[in-house]
């Protein structure tokens, strides 16, 4: 059923008792033309674009838990494309353009809100870096505007902009088209749209092994039995290393925990996304009214999907340094997601050395905003057995070749990016 004002009105008259299920839950077939491992945003997007753009509809998405129960449901919902290096800038800008039309594409309101993403500048060095990045963005056709301190103080009245602030604000780089997207809706929208094109979405079906015969992919083992396929796409960021190891591959990735947290819900107090590199902090207000905040990794390897209190304290302290008036709010919930941290801070969307095996992963802090482009390019790579020009740089081999895409220049320390 197509969602519209008419379907809403029709179902309202029937007390909303007759809405059809948004997607089926079929039993897996014996074999598929492609199997996508991971039913988060990236895996579901991969399946949707494979079916829509590449006429591959005999495919399955296998999810060990429930749709969007991993990092798709655990991020701070920010989308932006304010990157400096060309491969990242072009990739994330492509993703932002897909976000802009996604609700119409999927016939599902993902609540893309172009409320702007502001990076605060606190020092002359910050100013140089922001100008360099902003100019690089504009050369790549991406929107970037410099705001003075006075302009920021006018736009965000509760931000601490006085000269004697703990972290004085000298200005900020704004990407007006950046903003937020309803994260759960992304998983649900892609799942519904992929299902409508014939994709089988199979939840609570953990892949326990990848079978390789005569040097190429033959299928996957699951608790529901063996599923044959000549093409496997891995979209399990957080656990990429663990799944790739089933095919005998070792990746330049460590799994770390990244925490996020929300305050209690309040009336609208913040209508943009504010970030600060100096204190590594980002904040926005959800439509429910919670202030959604995040900061650094916990800085040690973890698969636990929960972090520890020092980072919560750090995030709260950063919040109060920038927004003293939020000190009266209570923190309501904190949680953690397991993220793939690569050795250069950039993702891997590529063919893997085993024929028929592909992956999108290594998302570090940036997986959510990448979701549409990651799925689009992963699907393209799977269908054509070669990358698109937009993901040609995001190979697994770049580390061995010395062709790193290291936005921060932090070197081969996974937790440093």
């Amino acid at each position: 059923m197509r969602y519209s004002i008419f379907s809403l009105a029709r179902n309202a008259l029937r007390h909303h008792e007759n809405w059809p299920l948004a997607w089926r839950s079929p039993a897996p077939k014996k074999c598929y033309d492609a199997v996508i491992i991971g039913g988060g945003g990236h895996g579901l997007a991969t399946a949707y674009y494979l079916a829509r753009d590449h006429a591959m509809t005999n495919i399955a998405v296998l999810e060990k838990g429930w749709l969007g129960g991993g990092n798709t449901g655990r991020n701070t919902t920010i989308v932006r494309s304010n990157y400096h290096l060309d491969p990242n800038a072009h990739f994330y800008e492509f993703s932002l353009k897909l976000w802009e039309g996604l609700s119409q594409d999927l016939n599902f309101n993902v609540m893309y809100s172009a409320r702007g993403v502001l990076n605060l500048v606190h020092s002359p060095a910050d100013m140089d870096a922001a100008m360099r990045r902003g100019n690089a963005m504009r050369l790549n056709g991406i929107d970037a505007e410099f705001l003075s301190r006075d302009e920021i103080a006018r736009r965000i009245p509760n931000l601490e902009c006085s000269a004697d602030a703990r972290f004085p604000i000298l200005g900020g780089m704004l990407q007006p088209r950046g903003g937020t997207v309803r994260h759960d809706a992304v998983a649900w929208g892609y799942a519904r749209a992929a299902d409508a094109l014939g994709v089988d979405i199979i939840q609570q079906c953990e892949v326990t092994g990848i079978r390789i015969e005569r040097g190429a992919v033959a299928g996957v083992d699951t608790p529901l039995g063996f599923i044959g396929t000549p093409k496997i796409g891995i979209a399990v960021a957080g656990h990429s290393g663990h799944v790739a190891a089933m095919a005998g591959l070792e990746l330049p990735i460590e799994s770390h925990v990244l925490q996020a947290m929300v305050s209690e819900a309040v009336r609208p107090v913040l209508d943009t996304v504010v970030t600060s590199g100096a204190v590594h902090f980002y904040i926005s207000q959800s439509d429910k009214g919670e202030l959604v905040m995040g900061g650094d990794l916990d800085f040690y390897n973890s698969y636990a999907q929960r972090g520890n209190l020092p980072i919560v304290e750090h995030v709260a302290a950063a919040c109060l340094a920038l927004f003293p008036s939020f000190g009266r709010l209570r923190l309501m919930r904190t949680w953690g997601g397991t993220v793939d941290m690569t050795m250069d801070g950039s993702p891997i969307i590529a063919k893997l050395p085993v024929p028929g095996l592909y992956m999108t992963g290594g998302w570090c802090y940036g997986g959510f905003k990448a979701t549409p482009a990651s799925g689009w390019l992963h699907a393209h790579t799977i269908a054509h057995d070669e990358p698109h020009s937009l993901n040609a740089a995001f190979t697994l081999e770049r580390f061995e070749q010395g062709a790193m895409i290291d936005e921060k220049g932090a070197g081969p320390y996974a937790w440093a990016h």
Binding site: H239, G241, H242, E250, L251, P252, I253, E254, S255, F299, Y300, N301, S302, Y303, A304, N308, L309, P310, M343, F399, E400, P412, Y413, A414, W415
Partner: protein
Amino acid sequence: MLLIPCPWCGPRNQIEFTCGGDATVQRPANDAPIAAWFAYVYLRDNPNGPHDELWLHSGGCRSWFKLRRDTRTHDILASARIDDDLATIAGARK
């Protein structure tokens, strides 16, 4: 919170420490093939379970030491001085 047993100072709050990553990677010989250097610099076992790590007691005695920690639960299983063998202290890992 993690209560980390520094082999020199005893159990201390995690905020005194800095994690230095995987303790099992071994620097290859200077004339080792490029593949060995690639593996040393970039590839990590990244286990889902017990993980041997280097930690620095940066807010204490400033010594590096080894720690075995479970990445699923954050349980701390053993610690050892930097030149001691964690495996003989805590039992074989694999």
